[in-house]
């Protein structure tokens, strides 16, 4: 990787900082330093716990959506999907009296199911991904509410039967909360990075976004790989639903719209191109870290929800501008 960058000119360090991942990395450091300097209360251990709570499900969604994004598509059904699938999980556990493990499995399967549905519609009917997933977004939003009759969903609390699900992402030791979810995240990041960089799955998904016709003429089944991209996204939406359910006590049906924008925004800030063919898991991680830092950090310096939205919007525009400018430079 480094050698390749060298061949294209410039020192390795300069090349890294010209890439969007490099810029995102620098921005993360700057943000961290800024919050640490600006707010005394930010410099506390609990900040990390809060940050992690928020990051888990956004990161999982963002890793998933990186795949459709690289194919030059998108998945908007993530946000309402996360809420819907975790409510379905809660229905399985509470109303149907199944073990938590079964609830988790169904939650993941629901995600995969809708991922496959998205993929099949987009690949075989060739509908625009934006429209297709906008529709599935509405469908899953309604679905969760119908199933529970509009009631909120709850996954077992700590101490009760099946409460172990609360200890997947954090455990209490000596009165301190340890966010062990970080370990899961590192494992997942490594696996997905390898899949994107070193397997046919990743190779063909990148090629799909770069030049679909060329890939088709090379004898590769483009329908199949488009479906795979959206299925991966669905799988990760399911995983994000579990992280969401295990983090929050109450899941309100019909909510969740907007969460996908944090995930998509994270991927884009991390250098995934909306025009397809470009993206990395490391970049997506950094992008999500930036968005999460803004969400958790800004209240410490006195900026509340509305300001967070404004600043996140500005950061996104900056990230997309860099992407567009780079794209333009290459094509002329």
């Amino acid at each position: 990787m480094e050698k390749k960058k060298n061949a294209a000119g410039g020192s390795p360090l300069a090349r890294v900082f010209k890439s969007q991942e490099g810029i995102a990395f620098a921005a993360t450091i700057i943000l961290f330093v800024f919050f640490i300097v600006a707010s005394k209360s930010f410099r506390r251990y609990t900040t990390i716990v809060t940050l992690c709570n928020y990051m888990y499900y956004i990161l999982l969604m963002a890793i998933g959506v990186t795949f459709p994004l690289i194919t030059a598509g998108v998945d908007l059904s993530l946000g309402t999907g996360v809420v819907c699938y975790s409510i379905i999980g809660s229905f399985i556990i509470n109303q149907m009296g199944m073990p938590v493990g079964v609830g988790m499995l169904v939650t993941i399967l629901m995600g995969v199911l809708f991922g496959v549905i998205n993929g099949v519609i987009i690949a075989t009917l060739e509908l625009p991904p934006f429209i297709t997933t906008l529709c599935t977004m509405m469908i899953v939003r309604g679905l969760g509410s119908i199933l529970t009759g509009g009631l909120s969903g709850v996954w077992p609390m700590e101490g009760s039967k099946g409460g172990w699900c609360r200890n997947i992402l954090k455990v209490k030791a000596n009165g301190k909360i340890i966010p062990i979810g970080i370990i899961w995240m590192i494992i997942i990041l490594v696996i997905m990075s390898v899949i994107l960089r070193k397997t046919k799955v990743g190779r063909y998904i990148i090629a799909l976004g770069s030049n679909k016709e060329a890939l088709r003429l090379s004898g590769v089944n483009v329908v199949k790989w488009t479906i795979v991209a959206y299925s991966i996204c669905g799988l990760f939406t399911g995983l994000a639903a579990i992280a969401y359910a295990c983090t929050f006590s109450n899941i309100t049906p019909g909510t969740g719209a907007g969460l996908e924008l944090d995930a998509i925004g994270g991927a884009i800030i991390g250098g995934t191109s909306m025009t397809g063919g470009v993206g990395s898991i490391a970049g997506t991680f950094l992008g999500v870290l930036i968005i999460s830092l803004l969400k958790t950090g800004l209240p410490y310096v006195g900026l509340q929800a509305n300001w967070q939205q404004i600043i996140t919007g500005i950061v996104l525009i900056a990230a997309v501008t860099i992407d567009v400018l780079q794209h333009r430079k290459k094509t002329t």
Partner: protein, 497 residues
């Protein structure tokens, strides 16, 4: 030269309204380079598309390696060893050279792609072909020439037995062309069959063994390259058909003022130092082969594409045109070769299309005056003899000829004085063509000045007062209609420098 690898016999193909291939036959031997030549629209590409399964033939037989075959798609043809190296490249820009060459058949090592092996194999392949390309380089960082080399390498690595080069040299530098020829000679040594489509006479003489010439969907004949001259080939390409009523002399009197003067404009590879003048009431024909840079020149003048340098004068005054809006207000108009994509809003009515360039004229206090809009449009519909039940008709329901009239009407309503017609009769039937010609003559008589870009020699010779011929982004010659002949134009159009 060895045995025959491919025989196409009596291939016939009709599209609605066009007899694209009229019982064409052709054969290629192992270890030979066969040139396939012909004017634009002679049927070369259609023939190759029939061969590789993009089009289905109506009748005829294709025999490949002793067996009769009919491919369903290009992929099947590829599997059998027939590969086209396209003029437009099919490369995946974000992947590396090696990743592109082995796409769809990556070597695996424990489930993961073995990039190291791919790079080694690609390197070996390049060494064999004597090409110097780094297999780990990203494809979109290579020059077009090198990308083409990669495409060829990819074809060879797939055990191609018959390679078709579709105008491969159009985007290459001289040094790259030499390299390409070295590779082609090597492939010939290895007993591959090669079909080489090109317009460049010097290349044909240099690299091919035989020349098959096509004209109007027919095979006109096959010559042994070393026994024929450039003129022999040109004569076969244009034939001896006398076209209807070519213009014999210019209708522009000496001393007529210049309305448009273009000086030394440059825009990319396709527009290089182009200068010319257009007189009032003149029809100036722009001739040349496909990809000569005529459309690009028009777009550069119109401000649709960025110019690197050069000046434009209208009625003697220097004008600044960097965007189409500025061109329109200077009185220029551009009627695109692709009406459906760039000229019309197909699902809108004639009225809505017609007033698009000058809507403010029809507005009263920000509101559109629908009545006035209709009246004016009706006037032009009558004048252009546009056949439609009414001005509210959607453009998509009109015939090609009538659609073209809507485009013309749109610019006339906008008071354009200089009209650039890019392939004005493409996709229009014969009767409507006559009407468009008549209309253009009438407009010129009324003092409008016209630039007509056309790939049809007959059209150029019939309509133009003066002809400018382009080749590879440069003007290679200018002919007064009185001295112009098909042979002279073809000579200029194939003049490489």
């Amino acid at each position: 030269m060895g045995e025959i690898i491919l025989t196409m016999k009596d291939i016939d193909k009709t599209f609605p309204g066009v007899h694209a291939l009229d019982h064409v036959s052709l054969d290629v031997k192992k270890g030979e380079v066969l040139a396939l030549m012909g004017e634009n629209g002679a049927g070369k590409s259609t023939l190759m598309k029939v061969l590789t399964g993009i089009y289905k033939k109506d009748s005829g037989t294709i025999t490949y390696e002793g067996r009769e075959i009919e491919f369903k798609n290009p992929h099947e043809a590829q599997e059998a060893g027939i590969v086209i190296v396209h003029q437009e490249l099919n490369m995946i820009g974000h992947l590396t050279v090696a990743q592109n060459i082995f796409i769809g058949r990556e070597p695996l090592n424990g489930g993961l792609i073995d990039d190291a092996k791919m790079n080694r194999d690609a390197k070996k392949l390049f060494e064999k072909l004597k090409i110097e390309i780094d297999p780990t380089e990203k494809m979109n960082l290579l020059t077009v020439g090198k990308q083409q080399m990669c495409e060829i390498a990819k074809a060879i690595s797939r055990n191609a037995k018959l390679i078709i080069f579709d105008e491969p040299s159009a985007a290459l530098t001289d040094a790259e062309i030499e390299q390409l020829f070295t590779i082609i000679r090597d492939l010939r040594e290895q007993q591959l069959g090669i079909i080489y489509i090109s317009h460049r006479m010097d290349e044909i003489k240099k690299i091919t063994d035989r020349v098959t010439v096509m004209r109007d969907g027919c095979n006109v004949g096959t010559l042994i390259t070393k026994d024929c001259t450039k003129d022999d080939i040109i004569n076969m390409m244009i034939g001896h058909v006398i076209y209807a009523a070519p213009k014999t002399e210019s209708h522009v009197k000496p001393g007529t003022p210049v309305v448009l003067k273009v000086e030394h404009i440059n825009a990319g590879r396709m527009v290089r130092d182009v200068s010319f003048e257009l007189h009032k009431g003149e029809i100036l024909g722009f001739s040349g082969l496909m990809g000569a840079g005529r459309t690009e020149t028009a777009r550069a003048i119109f401000g649709a594409d960025a110019r690197e340098s050069g000046d434009i004068y209208i009625n003697g005054e220097k004008v600044k045109i960097t965007r189409p809006e500025e061109a329109v207000s200077a009185g220029l108009s551009y009627l695109s070769e692709d009406r459906k994509q760039f000229g019309l809003a197909l699902k809108k009515s004639i009225v809505e299309n017609s007033t698009l360039t000058c809507l403010p004229k029809f507005c009263r206090r920000q509101f559109i005056d629908k009545k006035k809009e209709k009246e004016v449009t009706q006037k032009y519909v009558d004048m252009l003899q546009l056949k439609t039940p009414g001005v509210d008709q959607l453009v998509i329901n009109l015939s090609g000829g009538n659609q073209q009239k809507v485009v013309i009407g749109k610019w006339l309503i906008g008071d354009a004085d200089i009209l650039i017609f890019d392939e004005p009769t493409r996709g229009i039937d014969v009767g409507a063509k006559e009407e468009i010609y008549e209309l253009m003559n009438r407009l010129a008589d009324e003092g409008k000045s016209i630039i007509m870009i056309s790939s049809e020699l007959a059209e150029i010779l019939r309509m133009s007062d003066r002809i400018i011929v382009m080749c590879e982004g440069k003007i290679t010659g200018e002919l007064d209609i009185a001295e112009a002949t098909q042979a002279k134009i073809m000579n200029l159009a194939t003049m490489r420098n």
